[in-house]
């Protein structure tokens, strides 16, 4: 299995005591697999995604990608992991307002220039999300859905092994939400990466072959589709 998570736990310590956010998370996924996670607010869904995306470290447990723990190592290797292995789509698109659509997609390439002709690839991605005609526009000139598409294109720019989306449609209307989610799934299939999506919407969650529920920090199976 390409991605393996074994007994992953996460605990936060506060003045009032420790809070267990994740308890004994276990799952594994191959390349090309996708997974949706639903659950109530505060159940730990985003925390799991943050750990998988290298934005947090677990308190205990194993997280392996191709047999290696990507979170072991120094700040430099972690940054490299986030840059080259992970694509993250946030609920709030987090586009840089000072950069054009094309530049926003190209930002990861500034960190590590591993691709030849990155602009062509960025344009290709923008074409696939249907925004190549807006490449010189700034985020303030786009609608919410369009911004999120740009965020999706940016997440795919480095051809990541894992594509993580944390409530990617949370701020969108129903029509846009569905459109963005379909796009996400389509591109995931085209790129054959591992896609994990957190969503509140059962309809959107149902689009995934594997659905899980996060409840009180424990990941439970929804059932296979």
């Amino acid at each position: 299995m390409s991605l393996q998570v074994q007994q992953l736990c996460k605990e936060f310590f506060t003045e009032s005591g420790s809070v267990k956010v994740l308890t004994g998370i276990d799952f594994s996924l191959d390349d090309g697999a996708s997974l949706s996670i639903m659950g109530p607010s505060g159940s730990g869904k985003s925390t799991l995604l943050h750990i998988l995306g290298g934005l947090e470290k677990p308190s205990s447990g194993n997280y392996l990608l191709d047999g290696k723990n990507p979170l072991d190592g120094d700040e430099q290797s972690l940054a490299l992991f986030r840059n080259q292995k992970v694509g993250f789509v946030f609920q709030d698109h987090h586009l840089l307002p000072q950069c054009t659509v094309l530049e926003n997609v190209l930002i990861p390439a500034l960190v590590s220039q591993t691709r030849e002709d990155p602009e062509t690839w960025a344009l290709d991605l923008l074409g696939r999300v249907g925004l190549s005609h807006r490449m010189t526009h700034f985020p303030s000139e786009l609608s919410g859905g369009e911004r999120q598409r740009v965020a999706v294109a940016r997440a795919l720019f480095m051809k990541p092994r894992i594509l993580l989306a944390d409530e990617p449609t949370g701020n969108l209307d129903r029509k846009n939400a569905e459109s963005v989610m379909d796009l996400l799934i389509k591109l995931h299939r085209e790129e054959n990466n591992i896609l994990i999506v957190v969503t509140h919407s059962p309809e959107l969650a149902a689009k995934f072959p594997v659905q899980k529920i996060m409840q009180d920090g424990v990941l439970l199976d929804q059932g296979k589709n």
Binding site: E15, L55, Q76, Q98, E103, L110, V111
Partner: protein, 1170 residues
Amino acid sequence: MNYSWRKFVIASFRHHLLGNIAVLFGVMVACVSITGAFVVGDSLRHSLAGIVEKKLGWVESAVISQNMFRASLASSMDGNIQPVLLLQATIQFRDESDSLVSQASGVQIFGVEDSFFKNQAGFRNQGAIINSILGKKLGLSSGKQIVALLPRQTDIPRESFLGRKNDLVDSWRLSVDSILDSAHPMNVFSVSGGVEQPLNIYVKLSELQAKLGMAGKVNVLLADAEVNSKQFEKMLGLEDYGLKLSSPEGRAKKLITKLDRNQDGVLEKREYQGKIADAVLRDVIQKYGERISSKSLEKYYSENRPYLNLEADKFLIHKEVTQKAFQAADRAGLVASQIQVYLANTISNAKDEIPYSLVAGVDDFLAERIGLNLKGSSGEYPLVLFPWNDSPFQLKDKKIQLSFFAPESVGKPKELNQVFVFSGISSGNGEVLDPDIAPDFPGITDRLTLDSWDPPFPYDNKRIKPRDEKYWKDFKTIPKAFIRLETAQKLWGTRFGDTSSIRFYAKDSGAVSGLMEKVETELIGQLSPESRGLVFKNLRQNMIQASQSGTDFSLLFLGFSFFLIASALILVGLLFQLHLERRLSQIGLLLSLGATPRLVRNLLLYELILIALIGSLVGGFCSVFYANGLLYLLKTTWPDKTLQSILELHISPRSLVIGGAITVVMAILVVFRSVGKISRGSTLALLRGEVRDIQSSSGAGYLFWFFGGTGLVLVSLVLTMIPKGNNHEIRALMFFGSGGLALIGFMFVYLSFLMRVKKFVIRSGGLIGFGFLALKNMSRNYSRAMLSSGLLASAAFLLIAVEPFRKDPKTEKGLNSGTGAFSLVVKTSVPLLVNQQDQSFHDFLADGLAGSLRGDPQKARNFAAELNGLLSKSKWIPLRYLPGDDVSCSNLFAPEKPRIIGLPPSFMQRGGFVFSAINGKGDSPWNVLQVGAGIIPAFVEKNTAEWMLHTGFGKVFNLINERGEKTEIKFDGLLQNSLFQSEILLSEENFLKLYPSHEGYSMFLFESNDQDSPRLLELLEIALADYGVDIQKAEELLRKYGAVENAYLSMFQALGSIGLVLGTFGVAATLIRSVWERRGEIGLLKALGFNNWNVQSLFLLEYAILLALGLGIGSGAALFSVIPLEQSSWERWWMLLMIQLGMFLFGLMVCVISLWTIKSENIIRSMRKE
């Protein structure tokens, strides 16, 4: 790839332009302050260098000597060398009735040749050319008549018993030939630095030389290029060293020239009768007949007086020259012999006496040579008498007493006695028969009779008997008595010298005349040109150096601008942090995309560098205008108004670059930590845009701060009550210290209050409820509240705290104060020879009144009587005063040759003044100056030592003595706010050791009561008008000195106030940041029904409390400590408090404007923190 981090940084910069402009403003202000200070320093240095250029005109290098030398040296050298006679004079403009219209003292009178003016017009007619400044001061125009009062020149030291104590000034009536235009290159010519515009008068060199009796002599040489001084020094002769060497033939020729009226080379009886000693004449006539030819006389001299004779222009040869003469004799293969000749008022035994007799002290060599038995037992002073028929003394007279005037005196000379043992009578012929043993002295040696003498000492010709006249006729200046040289030097040695002549004899009784050149060469080789000031110095270089080495105004203004710069940089830090915090999510995004914290930090720093570079460029441009403003501030506050006309703006590109570079570096340093901190923050927290908000603390800590603060305030209170004595600086420092403690104490109490206030429960509504809510909001981040208030409190405290350092001479009364209880400080440009112990000063002043009021003798007598009455009620002390460079802080040039004062024992016994530090104990600290052995002790004003001489207490300092040699002195005492801020103080004894040729007193301190003082001043001004008098009230002099420090304080306070203004902008910046941070809270309050005004007033109240506490604590701490201090003027305190109130209102206004954005905040977006 086209897209790069460079493009990203530029795009970010453009996108966040408004925020960047705010940061840029802070950078710009910092750059303006820093670069402005540099530009002020540059401007001052450039202006002072400009003064030097104007003063020097075409002159590049110069010889400037206190002694006269041959003017012909100028023409013997290559290049354009101008001989100049330079003196200080007083110029009077009198009307037709000879009444004084106007007067100027300290005028430079230059005796010059026409070529001095180079291509410009020189002397048109007879008369004087004056510069425009003197013309304006005296209200002169061409053709007007003036009187120049010149110091009368004399070779004989006035303080020696042969020196004339009065008749110090020679008057010279001149007409004004022309007045130089202000643009004339030599209009403000001077050989000394300083910003003062000199008062100059130019006369023809030959005329001035004739007037002074200094034909062929000058004391200055000016060159328009650099001169090889060694070449010049090789041209010097003995004459230039004030020495004259004569051969026997030379002396004979001189006598012939003097007596040969018909210039036929032969002396007839009528020419020499009575003018040559009869005893000598008999000898000469016997050998050569009554018609004495030049050749005969020369032969007589070479046979009977076979020695080279060395004498000094100043009558006495200094010990050091004697030493060198002996060395030269040795090298030339000759034997040297010293003689000290003196005049005894009386030679007496128990029964009889003879008046006015020359006595010669001779060494063993000469004693043996001329057959004198001067061997005596130890402790005895043997004396040999010259045989003359009418001598009343016989061998059986075992004891002979000599009475003579003390060899050195000011005022009336004192008569001393010494008993000798009569040890024999000399031979009456041979080499002893030599009147040339005594140097020429006009008024004595050139008189035909004893009765016709005109000596400078008290002389009673009624004492002269026929036998005395007969002796004079027979023997002239052949001494009546001989004593041992050592005895003569002990009794009659002076600081000017203890030898009247030195003879060089051939070892083998051969002729010496052939060896004269050799002796001269050897002696010149031994003498030091520096000892006579006969060295060419690069005047331009030295003066430029002095102009650039004074107080560094760049550093000074950087210090004054400290608060301004600190406030600006703090503002940069605050605004940049605010700017960053608005972009936290973007920073988080970059990190989430794989950028390392280091990369993110560098990107942010690149953006800051871009802001800083632009800010520095704009700041550099604006600094020119700021510097102009500072120069205006300097001109208006500086006590010397001359600065107004000379200070000009000068911009050096180097300073602009350095100022800009320093600003960029400091801006980076200020934000470096926070940029690093943010870039290392949690990626998720950054993505969420989280800023650490609420500060948590336990309730237990507040008690510690409360009691700690209260304790400090109590200690401060105790310190204010402790008596602080008269030392102004200690008082001010203790105030500062107690005020500082009070400030910290109050801040601690404030902190404890903030820590405690979050526990308060708001129970009421309205203003009180709002107030409590505002306080609780402040306590959320009390470290930020403390920082904001603390900065304002520190600024407010410092602005008021420096006020006690302001000098107020009204408080300086009494013996142990800055004035030392003196009321008047009198200086004269001509030194006076007066004595505290006798009436000489009173007589002198009476003569002065008679001279000044010569048109009304009765008025002069009345004034003299009135002045005597005032003097009898006052005390006065004369001081030795060596003119030179002012070493007080008001001198913008670095002093090269400091002014020195020599304090007499009567001053040191009196004591007084205030010391900052003193090395020694005992009744009077002034006694420290009287230490004889080792390094010479000295006192100086503390600020002078630190800022002008760059030295300190107990440190050694080099002075150049009269002989051009470096001499070490040690500052064993530092004075505090005294009258002597322009001088270095030595004891009179040590002063005269360093400057033995210095004579008379030209500084006088008067102690008189407030009632008599003004009239005393008026009368002294009239009495001393001819001597270039300058009188200042002691209080005014202290005010003048204090004005410099007060000017610095005013500048510090002015710039500090601007810093305080900037500080209020900083508070506004924290307010804006707070509004932004709490926008969710604002949205909630609005959602709960608070209207815009409610929300704005909540924040306004919070920051008004912050402002009020900051300014209040600072002002309060300052006032808390100052109240017990005696302050004569409270107006300034009120003014400073009004400034604080103004700052508070200004700060409120800025806050009101900053809160305007609250109005437009959308509730939902606010709550979502968008």
